[in-house]
């Protein structure tokens, strides 16, 4: 298992290099520069600014020096916010986004898995239809709709929870976490129901039942492990989605998170900031995909044997 992780991390290096290179040339070829503004910018200013950020050098030279900086852990200065550097901005935005993604994932897993398992235990009954219909609504309820809806109900009309903010007022993290988590809860519910149904019809489950084990025990001891494999495979991408998708929720709730920085950077053509956040997100995604794969191996005895046999 450790060797598997090691090899995967080794593979991550070329992946990151490709991501950096693609992004670098992508952002530099995107129309509109970092310093264009509503009012015409005098050529003197453009020249001075480009010289300051080395944008007057040939592109390949910028690329090489950027790679050099990255290796040393230097993400460079932000173009949009003079005096701020990218690492500082990432550090400022990360806590809120990470916390939000964590709570949202929690909401998604707890609600999703329990609804999915409950539905799979009694397929084609009310216990199946009700949570699955709710899941369907959850999926077609995008966060840009769910967020404002929750705000109107719980923030404005009932006045139970704050309508925005992050860590400023008690309870202001609840609505964002639910808003972001719901869509994923719905996915997970459907995936876990599907997975559980597959597993529950397998022979070894029948054997377990034939042995006279109670249904909850069958589920907990035998079925969950196999039935949740599709969910586990989904976790890596889901986490990537949570990080990337947090932008909408962050905007609705005025959360000072990385998602907002990232989108702003893209709109502002803040080259270094786009690159920095992309590298950062890419690393996170690679790590979480690795964890999700490792979990899948751990849950699947056959694959586990194989992985151990190799190592």
């Amino acid at each position: 298992m450790l060797r598997f992780a090691f090899y995967r991390l080794l593979q991550a290096i070329p992946v990151l290099l490709i991501v950096i290179s693609l992004t670098f040339f992508l952002v530099h070829s995107a129309p509109g520069g970092p310093f264009s503004a509503d009012k015409a910018v005098p050529p003197e200013v453009i020249k001075a600014l480009e010289a300051q950020y080395n944008l007057d050098q040939p592109l390949w030279q910028q690329y090489v020096s950027y790679l050099g900086d990255i290796v040393q852990g230097d993400f460079g200065p932000s173009f949009k916010y003079p005096g701020r550097n990218v690492s500082e901005l990432i550090a400022a935005g990360l806590p809120a986004t990470a916390e939000l993604a964590f709570y949202a994932m929690l909401v998604a897993l707890v609600i999703g898995v329990s609804a999915g398992v409950a539905a799979a235990m009694r397929p084609n009954t009310a216990q199946d239809y009700i949570p699955m219909s709710a899941a369907m609504i959850g999926i077609c309820m995008p966060s840009f709709l769910l967020g404002p809806l929750l705000v109107l109900i719980f923030g404005i009309h009932l006045e139970w929870l704050p309508v925005s903010g992050w860590g400023d007022m008690p309870g202001d993290k609840i609505l964002p976490a639910i808003t972001l988590g719901t869509g994923y809860a719905a996915y997970i519910a459907r995936l876990s129901r599907g997975g559980m149904l597959e597993v529950l019809s397998q022979d070894y489950i029948r054997t377990a039942r034939a042995k006279g084990l109670s249904e909850p025990l069958v589920i907990a001891k035998h079925a969950l492990r196999g039935g949740l494999i599709p969910v586990v495979a989904f976790l890596g991408p889901a986490f990537a989605g949570l990080l990337g998708g947090s932008f909408v929720v962050e905007t609705i709730f005025q959360i000072p998170g990385l998602g907002r920085f990232y989108v702003q950077a893209a709109f502002n053509r803040d080259y270094t900031m786009i690159l920095g956040t992309t590298v950062f997100f890419a690393t996170l995604i690679i790590v979480f995909n690795l964890l999700s794969d490792m979990l899948a191996i751990w849950l699947n005895p056959k694959l586990r044997q194989q992985a151990q046999g190799k190592s």
């Binding site: 015409a40 003197e44 300051q52 005096g83 701020r84 707890v110 905007t251 000072p256």
Partner: protein
């Protein structure tokens, strides 16, 4: 074994949910209530400021915060915008209108207690004119003698620029031409002074990205000083006890929020999280109007929304065609049905009443005459008129206006119009490269004077972008207007120029902006003005009134 491991994982996860929910319980005081109690104003500021350096800051969000932190030589009356003493307690203007002498207050101080004097201005203005700094508002200095030449490098000795400290408390400024709006410029952040010791402590004077503006480092000379700066979350300023007029300042603190999402901002206001919003969504305005809610502030704003027409495009070269297009926009309906905030239909570029100037224009909504004009231009009933594209940047209002105008042109002129929505930077690129046919645009006056609206259409004006060029217009704006003696004569020259502009119509004015804000009733002395410029030194909070209002809700 594995089951146990899993249980160990799941248990703390399950426990976290109730903890999360429990943390919500316990009622909390709203920002507005607590703010009224402690004298803290909660201000929806629209966006994260790019910088708090007055010579770098671009855009309203930054300038608003800078105006709380800093003060110029001159202040403006919060309602009329007439100049009033700031750091300069008095000033004299020479007879030819070119030499201004400012007498600075002896008790003006920086927020660290250092004295603030005339040399600060000379140094700061020198700094602001260094190209390396990337000051986008350097042109605000160009009425000063040799300032433009120095900035562009044709004059290298700063002593030749028309600014001198005669002594510690006397500053003399010499202009190239008499400039009636010069005093106004002194209240713009790009002409504020900065604390030399602080700037130089954190880097070279003309270095763009230094940390002198950060919390803990920032030294300012205004009514407030920087207390806390949490990126994308909030910026807090607190009362500066060294401010010369500190006794008169009523607020203890102001918290600025980067409220990017207009819809969320309005909800924050309703939930008592903000005293003031930066904007109000158009569809919410009728709700407040119907409820006769006095927290809705609508005021004329010194800005014009217009469409640029690319006069280099063959079928748009004919001014008759442009006139036909201009005459088939039903501005009244756009204002009433789409924008809903009492925007004034615009039939000329300059907002009426700017420094007593009322532009004349024979532009009107007249589809019948417009059809005739289009027929005269060779497109009877729109036949043969090429499909024309309207370029706009992603925004709700721009989209709605474009949809309405598309339909108006199609209906009245029977021509085919396509819409082209682009993201902001792409839009900018296309507009400045002249790579468009018709493009949405807006212009907010930098200062209250017709010149701020009219000098952008000079042949080589960077913001012209229409390819339109008229030598007579150029002569009037850049040669005649600056040299005429009386105010009335000057306005007459502008009137003449604007008539040329409105005859040839490289731009189609659509409406004059209004500023729309929600302001909690507990805020006293919130004055509306045409620059939508807040005066934080005058505002105060009155808790009792908001309590009564709160009780009613």
């Amino acid at each position: 074994m594995n089951n146990r491991a899993r249980q160990q994982l799941i248990l703390p996860l399950l426990l976290l949910i109730p903890t999360l929910l429990l943390s919500a319980c316990g009622s909390s005081e709203s920002n507005v209530d607590s703010g009224n109690r402690t004298g803290t104003l909660h201000w929806g500021n629209g966006a994260e400021p790019q910088s708090l350096d007055p010579h770098i800051s671009v855009g309203v969000p930054g300038n608003t915060i800078v105006s709380a932190l800093m003060e110029g030589l001159i202040l403006k009356d919060s309602k009329t915008l007439a100049p009033k003493p700031g750091v300069a307690e008095s000033w004299t203007i020479s007879d030819d209108g070119r030499v201004y002498t400012f007498n600075l207050r002896k008790n003006a101080r920086w927020s660290n207690g250092d004295p603030h004097n005339a040399n600060d201005y000379v140094w700061s203005w020198w700094r602001a004119l260094q190209p390396a700094l990337g000051n986008l508002y350097a042109y605000m200095y160009f009425s000063i003698e040799n300032a433009q030449e120095y900035y562009e490098g044709t004059v290298t000795d700063f002593d030749q620029v028309g600014v001198k400290a005669l002594d510690d408390y006397t500053l003399q400024v010499t202009l190239t031409n008499p400039t009636p709006y010069f005093l106004q410029l002194l209240d713009h952040s790009s002409l504020y002074s900065v604390h030399r010791g602080t700037v130089e402590k954190f880097g070279a004077a003309d270095e763009r990205g230094t940390r002198w503006t950060y919390e803990g480092n920032n030294v300012s000379n205004g009514a407030f000083k920087l207390a806390d700066w949490k990126i994308n979350r909030r910026i807090t300023v607190e009362r500066n006890q060294y401010y010369w007029n500190s006794d008169q300042v009523q607020l203890n603190k102001i918290v600025f929020y980067p409220t990017e999402n207009v819809v969320s901002e309005e909800r924050m206001f309703r939930a008592g999280q903000l005293h003031r919003t930066n904007l109000v969504p158009a569809d919410k305005i009728p709700v407040y109007l119907e409820a006769n809610d006095s927290s809705l502030h609508i005021a004329p704003y010194l800005g014009t929304y217009f469409y640029r027409i690319n006069t280099r495009v063959p079928h748009l070269q004919d001014k008759t065609v442009r006139r036909a297009l201009a005459m088939t926009i039903d501005r009244e309906t756009i204002s009433k049905s789409i924008l809903k905030a009492g925007q004034i239909p615009a039939y000329a570029m300059t907002p009426p009443g700017t420094m007593g100037y009322y532009p004349e224009s024979d532009l009107r909504f007249d589809p019948e005459a417009a059809r005739q004009l289009l027929a005269d231009a060779g497109y009877p009933n729109g036949e043969g008129f090429p499909t024309t594209e309207i370029l706009y940047n992603t925004s709700d209002d721009h989209r709605k206006i474009a949809i309405a105008i598309q339909q108006m042109w199609n209906k009245h002129l029977n021509i085919d119009i396509k819409l082209l929505n682009q993201e902001w930077k792409v839009y900018l690129d296309m507009a400045s490269a002249g790579n468009y046919q018709i493009s949405r645009a807006g212009w907010i006056g930098d200062y209250v004077d017709p010149n701020s609206f009219l000098d952008m259409f000079l042949c080589n004006g960077g913001n012209n972008r229409t390819g339109w060029c008229n030598p007579e217009y150029d002569r009037l704006i850049s040669e005649v207007a600056p040299t005429v003696k009386s105010h009335a004569e000057r306005l007459a020259v502008f009137g003449q120029a604007e008539q040329i502009l409105m005859d040839e119509l490289p731009v189609i004015p659509i409406y004059i902006y209004t500023s729309v804000n929600l302001v909690n009733k507990s805020v006293n002395n919130y004055a509306d003005n045409i620059l939508n410029q807040p005066s934080f030194t005058e505002m105060s909070l009155q808790p009792e009134q908001s309590k009564i209002d709160g009780g009613e809700q």
